[in-house]
Point group: C2
Chain length 482, copies 2
Amino acid sequence: MAQEKKLVESITSRDVDFAQWYTDVVKKAELTGYTSVRGCMVIKPAGYAIWENIRTELDRRFKETGVENVYLPMFIPESLLQKEKDHVEGFAPEVAWVTHGGLNELQERMCVRPTSETLFCDLYNKDIHSYRDLPKLYNQWCSVVRWEKTTRPFLRSREFLWQEGHTAHATAEEAEERTIQMLNVYADFLEDYLAIPVLRGQKTDKEKFAGAEATYTIESLMHDGKALQSGTSHNFGDGFARAFDIQFTDKDNTLKYVHQTSWGMTTRLIGAIIMVHGDDSGLVLPPKVAPTQCVVIPIRQKAEGVMDKAAGICNVLKAAGIRTKLDDTDRSPGWKFSEQEMRGFPMRIEIGPKDIERGQCVLVRRDTNEKIQVKIEDVEEESAKLLDQIQKNLYDRALAFRLEHTYGADSYNEFKETADRKPGFIKAYWCGDEACEDQIKADTTCTSRCIPFGAEGEAPEDATCICCGKKARKLVYWGKAY
Amino acid sequence: MAQEKKLVESITSRDVDFAQWYTDVVKKAELTGYTSVRGCMVIKPAGYAIWENIRTELDRRFKETGVENVYLPMFIPESLLQKEKDHVEGFAPEVAWVTHGGLNELQERMCVRPTSETLFCDLYNKDIHSYRDLPKLYNQWCSVVRWEKTTRPFLRSREFLWQEGHTAHATAEEAEERTIQMLNVYADFLEDYLAIPVLRGQKTDKEKFAGAEATYTIESLMHDGKALQSGTSHNFGDGFARAFDIQFTDKDNTLKYVHQTSWGMTTRLIGAIIMVHGDDSGLVLPPKVAPTQCVVIPIRQKAEGVMDKAAGICNVLKAAGIRTKLDDTDRSPGWKFSEQEMRGFPMRIEIGPKDIERGQCVLVRRDTNEKIQVKIEDVEEESAKLLDQIQKNLYDRALAFRLEHTYGADSYNEFKETADRKPGFIKAYWCGDEACEDQIKADTTCTSRCIPFGAEGEAPEDATCICCGKKARKLVYWGKAY
């Protein structure tokens, strides 16, 4: 049957062609679809449900820190985009321009927001007058547009979904604290909810956001050894405030500029989930983010009592808050197993006449394929326990993978050889000079991913730059990146 | 203090200048803000939190009927928009055009979606092949753009937030059933959750959606006697399917066109809440949709034990699931009362030293200003009960208002006089001829709002058209509309 073939058909192996494997998974797990709009993706129900879970959980964590949601216009007049010099240089080359509204040409063209710093500044200029108006802790969930030349679903597309937080504070210290706080919200979210271990650190000046004083980042390692920047948090100091004249009367009755931050996460995270956890059978979803956590698959479903028992188990799990569905279609069990694997549901439960005779059913883990026989009366408890184990195992496995694929380098030759032959992170000292970053990129295509926080990021007295051999200032994680 | 004055300052009375009253409420309740982007609004935290509640509740109701969420591109290539003739005629004059991406002119210009029928059709053309692929029950939450000349917050702006459902079915009957089903979801949502009574009915051909076979609508009556179209559901028949070639192989092995529907609701609903329930003290929010349902206001808060008791009450209510906050700022109680009224929190609780002595506190209803003394140990139960009563009273009051402002008309002169002097709905018979609708609009600015469902919408044998006097076919609710 054509329909049956579609999903079961094997996909490209990760190790043969990782890019093709990714495309296969995205397509066969039905995460995205295509329309005639070039470079823009359709996020289909299976993909969008993942995004909904991400959004709900992140939003909850934001609100716990006092953040409030707002919605700002999707258009930015050209004059507004131009107010902050570094910012416009960073974004103007990659925006989409609206030139006509209705039947008339606009007096001033507007771009579709690539990010909304300028709009938030415009609002803050009007709304902030006194120290009583601070802090502003605003966030919005929306889509943004960047006119990319080459695109890939979730990783790089002309339009993507994200959240962008924009805060304004009375002092530099408070802004810095918020910048770090939100980076930690992101890091905890990835590790706890998406089971993706991250490096936390600072971007070099070369890699920081257009207009920022400092950019902090979390970086994760994909299965092909390439890094993915998974979330960033920027401290703007008072640069935007000066460009947009955002001043407030402080308690001491003097006029001061506010200090601002912004921080964002995108649908890229879905790409990260795929590339960190997926395998040659398809998608593997960590239980916490999985829209469907468990599928119950009856074996010999026409045999007496099987469908009843399967439905009963499904209901018990649902009542216990486990997102479960029953596959009662007329497809074969084998087809259903493959589908569960391709779609990445964390576990399945098989139950047939023989199981029922013995008063048991079989739990099958997506992450290890392990089969576990459990008594039907224990199915709720055992399933909950298993989902916890799967969540933990996915994290541990990804962390072990990253550690195994993180290398040191004592000489530039070793660095180049590792970059060439061993995909992963390379930890190496750096003098702080952008010229060395450029050289390393030219020689290896590696970029500086981050300078880790704290003692780890500081170079010892006698350390030398991996590239130029001069005195080193920082330890940097280098890598090839998406 | 300047800060204190801002909110307490009185607003324009509804009866003096309704439009100015609306603007005052929107501004002073801090629902929206302004940026330099003309015709587009900023939705501030107090406004966006209402939208979040609307979205969460509607989304839950959609999903109960099997609807799945997706996300489609925000751009529509011009050639795609032009595929369905009526549709392009309806929307082309009011769209925003993107002509440049990055530094290059586009080969084909694209509009920012004013609605996404064409994109869903483009997707369905690719994804629907067999009866097994049906039905498709997709919805998306997004923003859309229509290049309006005059704008008002929530009611009419160049960009607004909405949901748009787009379904595809194997048969005409199934499509019609879904169209009505979603209209009923909308109507129930307004009546139950927003406490807004609605008329349900069909639009005349003149008023129906561009490209639809039939448009169904819910209409509500604002306090100034003007109607607001509050939600619409369209049956497209197979018109779009023919234009976009969306065919499937049915069970009988023949190729057939799908039948489609679409249905949408927008941030206009926030305008409806304001204009149905608000009063001269500001916003009045129905408890179910109110982001803050209750505010606890300590009286003589520095007196011993007052803040503790107030905080205790706040915690008890929160634990009971009532969205409560404690106002522990240093402003006067009078200022806090005004603020609660302006922001439309459904109830407040006042508690001071004398109350504590008597073991009681005072509940104050926003809808009636009634004060109710309750024992502190009963505060949870009494508050929950009161919120139910307020929800019900707001609905009853709005329904009574609509019934009082719904008029009949035996002659065209009476119709014109009522239209001139008595704002509200006018029920009158109509021959079915568009010329009469045009005449009525020219004479009175009234439009046909809807033909009610069932027997009510059918004209009796001897009824005549209110305008031309010929034989009537339908009963129509007429009104001036936003």
